[in-house]
Point group: C2
Chain length 332, copies 2
């Protein structure tokens, strides 16, 4: 984290799995992170989780003890929404995913936060136009949707609603970049945004292949983790196509248009996700993960993602750096 945060104090509103991860990220990057949750016990558990996670990072060698202690020192808990947002330049809302809860919360935030404070939402579902409809401060409301967990995975989808000031989108993206995230500014709302649409496009076919008897859960996962995923950790689908042919992406597709369209048209339909299918997938995963505990798998995942990001930071792509890329500020 070589950059200085462009905003000093952040309020984390809602401290479940996503909120607590944001708290760790903000604090580690140098921000004061003020937590608030309607359930005070949840906020306390979130702070304890941040402490435990910082210890994991020290133990795996990605953080010094001094930095971990300083990070934890920047995490505080506020008893009321008003005191949480009082000094915040940015609010990250991570309340449960129900429109009415978000709308009520945004009304309160808009009333209590200082006029310049940006009100960002972790929503994975809603158009900001609907969350902020009718608010005096709709211009300062923006979606900042992370990949779970944000303290490990840098991509953040940034998108305003119809009333959002474009400068708020730019400032949000700049803030995310300054704390080491990779802001991805979307041009318009679509259900699932980009991330979950891409994810569930792959998942839909993965389920179809298992359900139709082509391959086991383990075989499908192996094709991704020991094949496609090794490229996708470095390049997206367009970058992959461009490096797959000597003449780049134009040559890659030219002459194969019909072949590609035929394959796409042969992909499976949406499966019926029901108890029977879920149990089939569950048994497939049980067979794959064998004796490993889920907690052990998660610790391994988090440790490996940290190492993988360090690898990329140490040898960035020749195009620009994949992380901290200046492209969004140039576009803005």
């Amino acid at each position: 984290m070589t950059h200085r945060p462009t905003i000093d104090t952040v309020a984390v509103i809602g401290t479940g799995v996503i909120g607590r991860s944001w708290a760790l990220l903000f604090a580690r990057a140098g921000c004061a992170a003020v937590l608030h949750d309607r359930d005070p016990a949840q906020a306390s558990r979130a702070r304890a989780w941040v402490a435990d996670s910082l210890v994991d990072e020290v133990e795996s060698g990605s953080l010094t003890s001094a930095d971990a202690a300083a990070s934890l020192g920047r995490v505080s808990i506020a008893g009321s929404l008003g005191s949480a947002v009082k000094r915040a330049g940015y609010v990250q809302e991570s309340a449960p995913e129900y429109l009415e809860i978000k709308r009520e919360l945004y009304a309160a935030l808009d009333e209590q936060a200082a006029p310049e404070t940006i009100l960002g939402s972790s929503t994975s579902t809603f158009d900001m136009s609907r969350i902020s409809a009718g608010l005096a401060g709709a211009h300062r409301c923006v979606v900042a949707h992370p990949v779970n967990p944000p303290h490990q995975l840098p991509a953040v989808e940034v998108l305003g609603g119809g009333a959002t000031d474009p400068a708020v989108v730019t400032r949000t993206a700049a803030f995310m970049a300054s704390i080491g995230q990779v802001p991805v500014v979307l041009d318009r709302f679509v259900p699932g945004f980009v991330l979950n649409r891409l994810q569930f496009a792959l998942v839909r076919e993965a389920i179809h292949l298992v359900e139709s008897g082509v391959a086991s859960v383990e075989a499908v996962d192996a094709v991704v983790r020991d094949g496609l995923g090794l490229r996708w950790a470095l390049m997206g689908p367009f970058g992959v196509a461009d490096t797959n042919a000597d003449g780049g992406i134009r040559q890659y597709y030219t002459g194969h248009e019909q072949l590609v369209m035929d394959l796409m048209n042969d992909l499976g339909p949406t499966p019926s996700i029901d108890a029977r299918l879920i149990e089939q997938l569950g048994e497939g995963v049980d067979a794959m993960t064998a004796m490993a505990s889920r907690a052990e798998m998660r610790r391994w995942r988090d440790r490996m993602i940290r190492k993988l990001r360090a690898l990329k930071a140490g040898d960035p792509a020749p195009l620009t750096t994949p992380e901290h890329a200046p492209s969004f500020t140039e576009r803005a």
Copy 2:
């Protein structure tokens, strides 16, 4: 490469982009690799490419000079198909992707190779039942479809035709594992196998998002390389789902069945891949890659994949090792 190859001598028939990469892989793993191509100049170019690539691996620190020299020493060129396969325990066919070419070649291979020699094909398209139809040795014919390039990416899809002896599938998978690949045995043929179906499921939606104005080529790629791809380099879609909820994949889907199906049903249709779309994607990639040369990007990709695989080999997943996993032999 800590394992000993289960087969000593391999014939590489067809030495284009895929064949030459197999040649490097086999030789580096300790096999004698005998190259043959209908065009002798192509075989010479392939051997020169192997030499250059070995130098790259030495320069990036993943191979010693002595190992590189020994590897190159194991690569030879045979002037005829008969002399190429004479001593081979395994043949890897990588001829152009036309059914008639493959069928003729398989007829010649079946006639000239020793009776026990396995005849493996790199085909990404054809059912082995069609390639080997009518051959006396159809029982020893098998698909071994790599990810491009196989000397960097370990996953190999292994699948017999209707007449293939199951023991040939098992021996092929065991051989691939012994040279450091990750064999993925499929249960039945389907167009595109597993790998390209998963890949083009994601690509279809990626193109749809760009074409419908939701996000730029660069934004879509960033969501993958700085988000989804960092997880997929470690776990497939089922492993990801299992670690995304405290109660595993069953809990992840239960209660969200309709939400997931709605999102899947909202995914875009197959785009019309035509000159206009290809140019739009090309311009998006041009903007993303800016001043970097494609050759530079490929060298970076290859170097990073080697480092990433070394990272995974050094800290394997607690379930089993993601590479050299014993699961397929246990299943077999």
